[in-house]
């Protein structure tokens, strides 16, 4: 396949950026999108240009590092991560636009790489359980109903890639935050911090400069792990419950 790529190039966080156009040839349909970019970079290096910087790590859809907006869609046209997107989704001769995640809370560091440490700070403010150290507890000591376990697992699938933020017209992190909160709040292990978790994580989300939710549903459409939109309503419910209790104290 022969492709025309229009790629966002930006030297560093403070430099202005622009789209640059490149031609790549010899792309196989079986290549992943990232392998296609590797091919472009090899060509750029040979020609003495700077390779395009992009995030990636596991390349098997589990780490959440890869983060490209392809033709206006985070992770491209299929519901998967960029590393799991294959070139057979495209046609020979296509022009493909590649941009970084766009959100004020995710500043561009270079080319297609953004700083997603705002997510880490949301997690740090409550996305954990406090457990006493020592030997492992007896497995039957804390039973978890099957329905709750499934619900927790559905939300535990979030890999924190940030596609939800990139897709949201308000740059909102509600879907990510709701996945983390719902995952822990439904489990007995998460119960002691049930209220402080949701209040603190939502507060951090706001402090980091993410926008609010207007329920456009773009986040859930973009999510490679299928975190559903009602997760946001579930988080709102947890937040209202916690806020009322905090007010009663």
């Amino acid at each position: 396949m022969k492709l025309t790529l229009r790629v966002w190039r930006q030297k560093n966080a403070d430099a202005p950026g622009a789209m640059a156009t490149y031609e790549v040839d010899g792309i196989s349909q079986d290549m992943s999108f990232l392998e296609m970019l590797d091919t472009l970079n090899e060509k750029l290096i040979v020609e003495g240009d700077e390779p395009v910087a992009f995030d990636h790590d596991c390349r098997e859809g589990i780490c959440g590092a890869c983060s490209l907006v392809i033709n206006g869609d985070p992770h491209g046209p299929e519901r998967t991560t960029t590393c799991q997107l294959h070139m057979r989704t495209f046609e020979d001769g296509d022009t493909i636009d590649i941009e970084p995640w766009r959100a004020t809370a995710f500043p561009v560091i270079r080319d297609l790489v953004v700083d997603r440490s705002a997510f880490d700070r949301i997690i740090q403010s409550g996305g954990y359980v406090s457990a006493p150290t020592g030997s492992a507890p007896e497995a039957h000591a804390t039973p978890v109903p099957k329905a709750d376990a499934d619900y927790a697992f559905e939300h535990a699938e979030c890999i924190g890639c940030g596609a939800c933020v990139a897709a949201c017209p308000n740059g909102s992190a509600m879907l990510f935050t709701s996945a983390k909160i719902n995952h822990l709040n439904v489990l007995p292990q998460g119960a002691p911090e049930r209220e402080s978790r949701v209040l603190d994580m939502v507060a951090t989300m706001d402090e980091e400069g993410f926008g609010g939710c207007t329920l456009t549903g773009e986040c859930a459409t973009a999510c490679p792990k299928g975190i559903p939109l009602p997760s946001i309503a579930a988080m709102n419910k947890e937040w209202l419950r916690a806020a009322r209790r905090a007010g009663r104290r």
């Binding site: 766009r102 959100a103 457990a131 926008g211 609010g212 329920l215 009322r244």
Partner: protein, 234 residues
């Protein structure tokens, strides 16, 4: 089970709500639902226009004596006015502040654009502005009569027929009611999500209720100018 390991130092409940995007959205949802409830009553009242001037003017009169004899004349009406004004203001201020924040949170747009979200969803802000302006115009037109040449205090039937005998009266009113329908279509369902009553199983039902509510209210409100234009109401 582990104990909570940190002491809470949290602001007052008002600060918690007004200071949070989630809390402020709750204010929008609650005030929006108050306004929808009022509009349902208002639409029923408007429908009385089809039973003639006597019936319709009686309704106008009842608004002034509702709650009597517990409430003094017009007290009920003033309570409703205060609650509604507070709702409009809180709703509008929250909408403004949240929208400002949302726009700032996505300061750079994508070069590759594609349409996002449904029409009703995308038009909430402009639709809301149209509704805000309409509320002001509507009060000046049919409550105070400030912008209504020939306004007759205490003759609502005549005033309504009057308003819808002008082309601009019809245009303003019908455009605003279409905007209202769109706003409620996304707004009612949104409010359910914001208040945490939405979930996967209820989603279909909530969307249907939102659409039916939007359609019924818009149709009832628009039927009045159409009625005047076609001579059903005169």
């Amino acid at each position: 089970m582990a104990l909570a390991t940190r002491t809470d130092r949290r602001p007052s409940i008002t600060r918690t709500f007004w200071g949070s995007t989630v809390g402020k959205k709750t204010v929008m949802a609650a005030t929006g639902l108050v306004m929808i409830a009022y509009l349902a009553v208002h639409a029923l009242g408007n429908a009385k226009i089809y039973f003639g001037a006597g019936d319709f003017n009686d309704y106008g009169h009842w608004l002034r004596v509702m709650g009597a004899p517990v409430l003094h004349r017009e007290w009920g009406l003033w309570i409703a006015r205060v609650v509604l004004s507070a709702s409009v203001i809180l709703h509008g201020v929250s909408a403004y502040q949240l929208s400002r924040r949302d726009i700032k949170a996505r300061s750079t747009q994508y070069v590759h654009k594609r349409p996002r979200a449904s029409y009703a969803t995308r038009t909430m802000r402009w639709g809301g502005i149209i509704l805000g302006l309409f509320i002001v115009w509507h009060i000046l037109d049919l409550t105070t009569g400030t912008v209504h040449p020939g306004f007759q205090e205490g003759h609502p039937y005549q005033n309504v027929v009057d308003t819808f005998s002008t082309w601009y009266g019809n245009v303003i009113y019908i455009v605003a009611m279409l905007a209202l329908g769109m706003h409620i279509r996304h707004g009612f369902w949104s409010a359910a999500q914001t208040l945490g009553v939405g979930n996967a199983t209820r989603d279909r039902v909530l969307k249907t209720v939102a659409n039916v509510l939007a359609l019924l209210l818009t149709a009832t409100f628009i039927s009045v100018p159409v009625g005047v234009m076609t001579g059903v109401v005169s």
